[in-house]
């Protein structure tokens, strides 16, 4: 049982690290995209305000929630390996 706990904890820590990194990365990509959009639309208004608005819209959207797949997919993979290893 201790082995299981250790597996869970280490897995959770690693996935959380990956989640954090990915979330920063995707936010940065979104920010870059928004900056380009602002320029393409003819640089109307304040750039920072435009970008912040876009970031807020991104946070409200469904897309950041997709990042939870970082936790869900490995869980599915684990279940699949467990099944194949022991019951097939």
């Amino acid at each position: 049982m201790l082995g299981f706990l250790r597996f869970l904890i280490i897995g959770f820590v690693l996935l959380t690290l990956l989640y954090g990194l990915l979330s920063i990365y995707i936010r940065s990509l979104t920010r870059e995209r928004l900056e380009h959009e602002w320029e393409e639309e003819g640089s109307i208004g304040e750039r920072d305000a435009y970008v912040e608005e876009g970031i807020k819209a991104y946070e409200r959207s469904f897309r950041p929630k997709l990042l939870l797949l970082v936790y869900i997919l490995p869980l599915i993979v684990f279940a699949a390996i467990f099944y194949v290893s022991n019951f097939m």
């Binding site: 201790l2 082995g3 299981f4 597996f7 990915l22 990365y25 390996i81 290893s85 022991n86 019951f87």
Partner: protein
């Protein structure tokens, strides 16, 4: 210096390569001839080629009984597998069905005259010198000694690994481009400003002596 660098890179690649080669699943087509169980005294550095004792499935002794599966390859060479639970430990095969696998292996025993070809999925290396054995993970009956097995697991794992490394690299590039470079530019601006100040100060001092 260049040789040192390339030797180091080659060593790292070699290490990663052997790690993957040891850990990823492989398939052997063999004929199972016998199984046995033997007391093993696990000490010294080769212990790492045996199952760890704290994986939630094996318990704590440095000496324990280990099951083995003896087999013969189509070319007549012999190969021996160990049969141990990986449990929750490394590598993550989550194998708990050692006893069942032992039974299946016994069921698959066949003679030279009437061979039954079996694909043994395993990881690890066999070394006579070090007395280490690959760990059998699963067995499956196949049509013949040259049945074709597509290593789907390896294809998927290596692809995912590649995607993961590329993503990490892209992340690092993005971080550098958007966080480090602007910082460096700021510092350069400051240095430039300081440089100009210094120049003007020097001019000033020179100015004193001009007359």
């Amino acid at each position: 210096m260049r040789y040192v660098k390339w030797t180091l890179i080659a060593l790292i690649l070699l290490f990663i390569g052997s790690f993957l080669h040891y850990t990823l699943p492989q398939h052997d087509i063999v004929r199972v001839v016998n199984t046995y169980e033997e007391r093993q005294d696990l000490s010294g550095w080769t212990t790492m080629f045996w199952q760890g004792t704290d994986n939630g499935s094996t318990t704590g002794n440095a000496t324990r009984d280990v099951q083995f599966i003896q087999a013969v390859r189509p070319n007549g060479k012999s190969i021996v597998y160990r049969n141990e639970d990986t449990g929750w430990g490394w590598p993550p095969y989550f194998k708990f069905d050692t006893a069942n696998l032992y039974t299946e292996a016994n069921d698959a025993i066949s003679t030279k005259d009437n061979p039954e070809w079996i694909s043994v999925t395993h990881y690890g290396w066999r070394s006579q010198l070090l007395s280490i054995f690959p760990n059998a993970v699963g067995i499956k009956q196949v049509s013949g000694p040259d049945a074709r097995i597509i290593p789907w697991a390896n294809i998927i794992i290596l692809t995912l690994l590649f995607v993961f490394i590329v993503t990490l690299y892209r992340m690092w590039q993005q971080f550098r481009q958007r966080t480090i470079d602007p910082l460096v530019e700021d510092v350069e601006d400051v240095l430039e400003a300081a440089d100009e100040k210094k120049d003007s100060a020097i001019d000033k001092i020179k100015g004193w002596f001009k007359r």
